[in-house]
């Protein structure tokens, strides 16, 4: 139970976060309807029997930006990869618990991971454009899905949504590697958007980029959230405060006896709350920079 008195008495401050930004977040969160898109219940992930993440339960809301923050090693990346079943690609990974997507169990026996990934897209930490042209990168998804018609329009639309069209429209056939880091990442976003997903998962999308590219990506996220639901992992708290409507703080549970470190969800609330009135001390310590 949150200690309301002490919380109200001393609101927490993080350096570099504007009051106005938090106010904007507060406004959006309170005015926007909360439709549950993902319902996570008691999720546990282990690699070769060793638990990496346990007892995670939360809800992700439609058209919100949700951020996972926390110190390194607390399982944020592992968690986000559960949403599009990318952990399936790791032979030793085992996922227990449920994630419901539009009410249906993502890990149900009938479910095909390939279909899941068509609806839930992912952008990775290090931009990973394919060794092909800009056009072919964006067109890869539609082609693989069998959408052969109107390819040019789809590519243009995706590139526009990713705010990259103007910069590359004259050189679509150029190699994707000729783009700068920030542009490559936007290309990867455009690539995701071209398959018209529901959800965009972003695993530290700007951590490998310079500050200007980072701002561009964050602006993009604000644009995209109107049509997509976005989940982002970030180790940059200021970024979480700037873009996320909801924030989940993860930490590490240390089991001295078995020498195990397992990730756990500590607190999940609206961003302004997490950053100004966190209930859990660990969360408060983290956002004020006392540790982590």
């Amino acid at each position: 139970m949150p200690d309301m008195e002490s919380a109200a008495a001393a609101p927490v401050r993080i350096a570099g976060v504007d009051e106005r930004v938090l106010a904007e977040r507060e406004e959006r969160v309170s005015s926007h309807r909360r439709d549950v898109l993902f319902d996570v219940e008691n999720l546990r992930v282990s690699y070769a029997g060793v638990p990496a993440l346990k007892d995670v339960s939360l809800e992700i809301y439609k058209n919100f930006i949700t951020a996972f923050i926390g110190p390194s090693g607390c399982g944020k990346s592992t968690f986000i990869r559960c949403f599009n079943r990318m952990n399936d690609l790791i032979p030793t990974a085992a996922v227990e618990g449920t994630i419901r997507y539009h009410g249906a169990d993502l890990y149900g026996p009938e479910v095909d991971p390939v279909e899941v990934r068509k609806r839930i897209g992912m952008v990775f930490q290090k931009p990973n454009p394919f060794p092909k042209s800009i056009y072919d990168n964006v067109a890869f998804g539609p082609r693989v899905l069998g959408w052969k018609k109107n390819l040019d329009e789809r590519v243009e639309r995706a590139l526009r949504q990713a705010a990259l069209w103007d910069e590359v429209k004259k050189r679509l056939k150029a190699s994707a590697y000729s783009l700068s880091g920030g542009q490559q990442q936007r290309l990867c976003i455009a690539r995701c958007l071209a398959v018209e997903p529901d959800v965009l998962l972003m695993d530290e999308p700007a951590s490998a980029l310079d500050p200007i590219s980072t701002t561009a990506i964050e602006d993009l996220m604000h644009e995209l959230k109107r049509d997509y639901t976005i989940v982002i992992v970030t180790h940059n708290m200021q970024q979480a405060a700037r873009v996320a409507d909801m924030t989940a703080f993860f930490s590490v549970d240390v089991d001295e006896e078995h020498d195990r470190r397992t990730g756990i969800l500590v607190e999940y609330d609206t961003t302004p709350t997490i950053f100004t009135q966190p209930s859990d001390k660990r969360c408060e310590d983290y956002v004020t920079g006392r540790f982590g």
Partner: protein, 291 residues
């Protein structure tokens, strides 16, 4: 405490002599091979250059060295190379894809598969000839035909192509695969549309080098019946000969002129090999991606 300069000098002199002597030995080691190679090339060219002419390239063998040529032999070698290309590349790449992209490394049968391939790479080439003799020539009664030779050479160089293809496939970064999976591609789509295209330069280089090695093989072909007095052009199911076999046959003739003819054949063979190797290296330099 200072060390007198001459102690330093003295102790290092013995070392220096030993060091220089050792270095000289090493240099000898490495130059012996090249020396022999150089002498060999010079000798072969000197002996054979006189006989390199259209007769050599076009005419069939004959008992008169002045009229004998390696026409059918060269054609046989080229046909076999083409057959080899068609057979060994799909098999080798297919096996490599299976081992790299599909096989679960923990399963015992997949590990056995890998050991098996390593072992096959080191089996003497003549044993492949015995294999061909037993199964293809006599076993199913196909006889001593071009196809038999091509099949045996395919099996002989298959391990080499597999190893080269595996390396090329492994070199493709995993981030590319992850990106493709994340877009909803199936495993085959990832392999066919991303991994293979990126691995093609490495696969091509490795295949050409493997083919070059196959072209020079003689022993298995002797057993599988590359008859050495073939005057007709080779057909798939007909008797055949190949350049290295023709060279071997000429070497075995008593007349001195046939030795020179053999040298000429060697020049042609080496020229073909040099071209193939140079092409493979050019391919690698031009298309190799630095990830």
């Amino acid at each position: 405490m200072s060390v007198p300069a001459d102690t330093l000098a003295r102790s290092s002199q013995g070392d220096r002599i030993r060091g220089t002597a050792f270095y000289a030995l090493l240099l000898v080691s490495i130059t012996i091979g090249f020396l022999l190679l150089g002498v060999l090339l010079v000798d072969v060219v000197r002996k054979g250059i006189g006989y390199v002419d259209p007769t050599l390239l076009g005419e069939p063998n004959s008992s008169d060295p002045n009229e004998a040529g390696a026409g059918p032999a060269i054609r046989g070698t080229i046909y076999m190379m083409l057959l080899l290309l068609v057979m060994v590349v799909p098999l080798g790449v297919g096996t490599a894809l299976y081992l790299e992209e599909y096989a679960n490394r923990d399963r015992w049968y997949n590990r056995l598969l890998e050991i098996n391939i390593q072992n096959l790479a080191a089996v003497p080439s003549i044993v492949y000839g015995i294999l061909g003799l037993a199964f293809i020539v006599r076993g199913i009664g196909l006889g001593r035909v071009l196809l038999a030779g091509a099949v045996i050479l395919t099996l002989l160089v298959l391990p080499t192509v597999i190893v080269a293809s595996r390396e090329a496939i492994r070199a493709v970064p995993d981030s590319i695969r992850q990106g493709a999976y994340a877009l909803g591609a199936t495993q085959w789509q990832v392999v066919w549309r991303q991994v293979l295209p990126a691995a093609i330069p490495g696969i091509a280089t490795g295949s050409i080098l493997a083919l070059a090695r196959a072209i020079g093989e003689t022993a298995p072909l002797l057993l599988v019946g590359a008859l050495t007095f073939v005057s007709v052009n080779p057909t798939l199911l007909g008797s055949f000969t190949a350049l290295p076999v023709q060279i071997y046959q000429w070497i075995g003739r008593p007349q001195e002129d046939f030795r020179l003819l053999a040298a000429a054949g060697i020049i042609v063979l080496l020229a073909i090999l040099l071209t193939m190797n140079a092409f493979a290296i050019w391919l690698r330099n031009r298309y190799q991606r630095r990830w």
